[in-house]
Amino acid sequence: MRADRINIPGIVTLLLVAAAWEASVRTGLVTFEYLPAPSAIAVAFAGIVRSGELLTNTAHTLRSVLIGWVLAGLIGGALGLIFGLSRFARRWFLASLEVLRPLPAIAFLPVALLLFSFSLTTELVVMIYASIWPMFINTMGGVSDVASRLHDVSLTLKLTRMQTLWKVLLPAAAPAIVVGARLCLGTTLVMAIIAEMIGNPHGLGYAVVSALMSIQPEQMFAYVLFIGVLAIALNYCLIVATRRLLPAYGREAANHV
């Protein structure tokens, strides 16, 4: 659905939705008690920008997302590499991970809360547990897929194991790994917001919940819409980065949402 030209009907629809929203709130057409008008949300947004609250909360969330993403990416990537390359690991350990994988990460929050109380550690533990998996699965799939196809090449060229890894396996598995990294980033952001709502009273997730609790609908909607824009911006940055880093695969990888 992404078009390179400016999508005029799309923008018109967005404006129409906003206008209809504004009109229905002003005329009292909708019966939701706490639905603020877009104009009121814009005023509240200006308010949280001016007070610096938005910046502080965004900084916290982005910092934990970055830490969580890097750690989850490294752990998931390393595990994926080991399991993709070693039949032994797949035979003797994979089932244990496959049992843990569908465990909804959110159920770890109470356990993490017990162990680490309301802290950044709680947030990171839950984030990392959830976002290891996309990286793990994609890296393992990518590496083992390559292993069967390009193995003969490295045998013919008499490459050592390290050379095979660096020159054959990793470059060939790169598109899959990049897809994993992108999914991993999305999961980290989602889990960061969940963890901030329940486990670590800081950041954007907590800001939304506390605006809800103190019944400030305008402010809550301002945060919600901002989080949406932030998520899309992060994803877009990664798509652009993917195209730069892997021009040949960028398109293909970008399509695997």
């Binding site: 799309g10 967005l14 994979l94 959110i106 109470p110 017990l114 605006a211 919600v224 989080i227 949402v257």
Partner: protein, 260 residues
């Protein structure tokens, strides 16, 4: 998509490390710490919850929400996806709005729902449907839109009417992508169901586990974690099986249509 299609089910002996860890945990039994109750204590905690009837009622509340929400999301997402996918104008006009809705991290829908609807019975269901519908809708829409010209010509050759084209060509070719969407929606729906329960304390496993945590009944917390894990495992496994059974009638690779 790079899924572990080449593996199939991993051998069951791979469960041994996990079992070994649990046995080790039981054997060491860190008695000094109230935070690491051994697996036998998890069982005791769960049994107590089960005897009081709280476990069964919470489990049924959570599962009811989940299954109803997935069913509704399939119907709404599938139908809306077909309609949007069939019309180029609708795709273009709704594109940015849909992209935004998909990009919006699902957990923020929970406070929005609570604010607008209040703590009512249907709240859980509405929020979970709102979250689960997007992957299904967008996958169906994009695969319907990407229907190859060849298939369009087939319907012209056979002089199929609009309805017959829809029934015999459009819908069958959208099924694999629809199922990919459902596969994305299932874990999301589980997580959001639990999140709503944790945030609103509406009855369910999510609120039960938070209550146990607040009272520092750590054995119950671990026990419920296992229950949630089993539920997730069974539901995901069942879905993969159903998907495989349905897709066995479709040509291979058809499931690769994905994204927008």
């Amino acid at each position: 998509m790079f899924r572990r299609a080449s593996f199939g089910l991993p051998p069951l002996r791979g469960l041994l490390p996990l079992l070994f860890l649990l046995v080790l945990w039981q054997a060491i039994d860190p008695k000094g710490s109230p935070y690491f109750p051994p697996p036998s204590a998890w069982w005791t905690g769960l049994a107590a919850l089960a005897r009081s009837g709280r476990l069964a009622s919470a489990l049924s509340a959570t599962l009811t929400t989940f299954f109803l929400a997935i069913a509704l999301a399939c119907v709404i997402g599938g139908l809306a996806g077909l309609l949007i996918g069939r019309s180029r104008g609708a795709r273009r006009a709704l594109g940015p709005l849909l992209e935004f809705c998909r990009g919006l991290p699902p957990p923020v829908m929970v406070p929005v729902g609570v604010l607008l609807l209040g703590y009512v019975e249907g709240l859980k269901l509405v929020i979970v449907v709102l979250v689960a519908v997007w992957p299904i809708l967008l996958n169906t829409a994009s695969s319907t839109a990407a229907l190859s010209d060849l298939l369009g010509e087939v319907s012209q050759t056979f002089r199929l009417g609009r309805f017959a084209t829809l029934r015999k060509i459009v819908v069958p070719s959208a099924v694999p992508a629809f199922l990919v969407g459902v596969r994305g929606a299932v874990p999301l729906a589980i997580i959001i169901t639990l999140l709503v329960e944790m945030l609103t304390s509406l009855p369910g496993i999510g609120s039960l586990i938070v209550i146990s945590q607040r009272q520092f009944h750590s054995a119950e917390v671990y026990g419920l974690l296992v229950v949630v894990g089993l539920v997730g495992f069974v539901i995901n496994g069942a879905f993969v099986m159903i998907e495989g059974m349905l897709l066995s009638r479709w040509p291979p690779r058809a499931g690769y249509v994905q994204g927008t």
